[in-house]
């Protein structure tokens, strides 16, 4: 029954979901000052969503960088512009791929676990139990995860970027024989801290907020059944990915 009832198949349902999600955001923001009392909980969550995602982020960063290096080297060599490899890799990573791919991976790795965790806490009455112990679950459970997502995402994106650069360097310089100095000096002369590196950081801050908002919202409002939790987890990935890419477009338009 619940599976059939739940998917927001109609426009009105989707709008209602978005609206509820927006209201949820304000409730989280309201609970953030209170959650500062549970700073240790936030620290713990940074560990779970951030440090525990490092392996996947680093691996993927390295491979994305290597693929970029390989692809761009061949494309650029057509124009005799392989010297620009470092620049192109750095720019595409910093501005787009780093924040976006990190956010997508984050949604799959940390987002789903947040949703499942909060959903199970809902299903097993843990959230109600907290309320009964006069502890606000928004402040104790949701807000720390939200903050942790905002803190962790830019850092993960930076790690991803750094590994990506190393991957491209590995392929371009070590394997394909591009000059090391050319690789770096071209990059350093065309990449700007504010317009490139920090653009990516702003983006990933926004992605961190959106992805954890969606993950906590789905978990918090899930029907307290096992299908409910399973479905909420799927929705977290789908909605986070869509939201990430949509916001990426909007932010690119504004930050350009």
């Amino acid at each position: 029954m619940s599976i059939v009832r739940k998917p927001p198949s109609r426009l009105a349902d989707s709008l209602a979901q978005i609206g509820a999600c927006g209201i949820f955001l304000f409730r989280i923001l309201g609970a953030v000052p209170l959650s500062l009392r549970y700073l240790r909980e936030t620290v713990r969550q940074v560990y779970f969503v951030g440090a525990m995602s490092l392996v996947i982020i680093m691996t993927c960063g390295l491979f994305v960088g290597m693929v970029l290096g390989l692809q761009l080297y061949h494309t650029l060599s057509i124009f005799g512009g392989t010297a620009a490899l470092g620049t192109v890799v750095a720019l595409s990573l910093y501005r787009e791929l780093g924040p976006v791919v990190t956010a997508l991976l984050f949604a799959g790795r940390a987002g789903t676990s947040i949703t499942a965790e909060i959903g199970l806490m809902r299903a097993t009455d843990q959230l109600d139990a907290m309320e009964m112990m006069a502890v606000d679950p928004l402040a104790y459970v949701v807000a720390p995860r939200f903050l942790a997502g905002i803190i962790a995402m830019p850092l993960l994106a930076c790690v991803f970027n750094a590994l990506g650069i190393l991957g491209a360097h590995l392929v371009g310089v070590v394997w394909l024989g591009l000059d090391n100095g050319t690789f770096w000096s071209n990059m350093t002369s065309s990449v700007d801290v504010w317009s490139d590196v920090m653009t990516g950081v702003w983006k990933s801050l926004a992605f961190g907020a959106v992805c954890t908002l969606i993950a906590t919202f789905q978990g918090y409002t899930t029907p307290p059944t096992s299908e409910g939790v399973a479905y909420a987890t799927t929705r977290t990935v789908v909605f986070s990915s869509i939201a990430t890419l949509a916001i990426d477009f909007v932010m690119t338009a504004f930050l350009m």
């Binding site: 109600d128 009964m132 112990m133």
Partner: protein
């Protein structure tokens, strides 16, 4: 707390005149379904009051009203002198600190060890020195016989043990009221006896007012001072356990002897059986 000073054995007029919880004219509808239509109920201080009734009559909903998790459509719920539907969030949280709630499925925090689960309410609300906190927690765990399990995680416990840990957590702050939501479901006879004994001990030694939500008459009869039978959105019967068990009204007769026919229909409302099966001649 204040109630714990009350000796359990007291004159009826005192506890009846000043009940810990007084509910008047409670009306609630959830998702268009009427749950309560005019429930009046008193929970006397220092007693064990059982709320019984068929499944789906809103026993848990009633508890959610009492703890202020759910606001009623109409009526007043006064707990320890405060109307829970009216008081602000801080006052409500203050009230909840004085209430222990034993959830049906224990609701232990999966991330924390048994010790930390029991310590949770203390850590959240009191800045106790670690030594004192440890002593309190171990005392409560000893009371439920699980001091040795302090370092286990909830996932390593059986259902009965989890419920006992949850009970230790519910009493860790010496509440004035404990609500037991279906404490006997899924327990083997040994665990059931232990829980029964614990509930009685807590009530007798500490004078903690207790509300017992259950539908096992045999178990309830052994410890409850009085029973409210909830059915059809109203109080169907009220009285001492033995009195009700005699089954003098249709409700009590059906509920306590488990008959299919009575005021509570066994069949969900349905069209005529013969008509639905398409039997010839059944059509009018």
């Amino acid at each position: 707390m204040s109630a714990s000073a009350n000796p359990r054995v007291s004159h009826d007029d005192v506890t009846v005149r000043d009940p810990l919880i007084r509910i008047r004219g409670l009306r609630t509808a959830l998702n268009g379904k009427t749950i309560f239509e005019g429930v009046d109920l008193d929970i006397p201080r220092g007693r064990i009051t059982a709320i019984m009734g068929p499944s789906g009559t809103g026993k848990t909903t009633l508890m959610r009203h009492i703890t202020g998790q759910l606001a009623p459509d109409a009526g007043e719920i006064v707990v320890d002198g405060a109307n829970v539907a009216r008081i602000g969030r801080d006052a409500l949280f203050g009230l909840r600190e004085k209430i222990g709630y034993l959830f049906q499925n224990s609701a232990l925090l999966t991330d924390y060890s048994v010790f930390e689960n029991v310590a949770f309410p203390l850590r959240q609300h009191l800045k106790l020195p670690e030594e004192l906190l440890r002593n309190i927690v171990l005392t409560k765990l000893q009371a439920v016989g699980l001091r040795g399990a302090a370092n286990l995680m909830p996932s390593e416990l059986s259902g009965g043990m989890m419920r006992r840990v949850a009970l230790a957590r519910a009493i860790v702050r010496d509440p004035m009221l404990i609500i037991y939501d279906e404490p006997f479901v899924g327990l083997d006879p040994i665990a059931l006896n232990q829980i029964l004994k614990l509930i009685r001990t807590l009530n007798q030694t500490l004078g903690i007012t207790s509300i017992l939500v259950a539908h096992e008459l045999a178990a309830v009869r052994r410890i409850a001072d009085s029973i409210y039978l909830l059915a059809g959105g109203k109080i169907a019967a009220h009285g001492a356990p033995d009195e009700l068990a005699r089954g003098e009204t249709p409700w009590t007769r059906q509920f306590f002897s488990g008959e299919a026919d009575g005021p509570v229909p066994f069949h969900y409302p349905a069209p005529d059986y013969a008509v639905q099966l398409g039997l010839a001649g059944a059509a009018p």
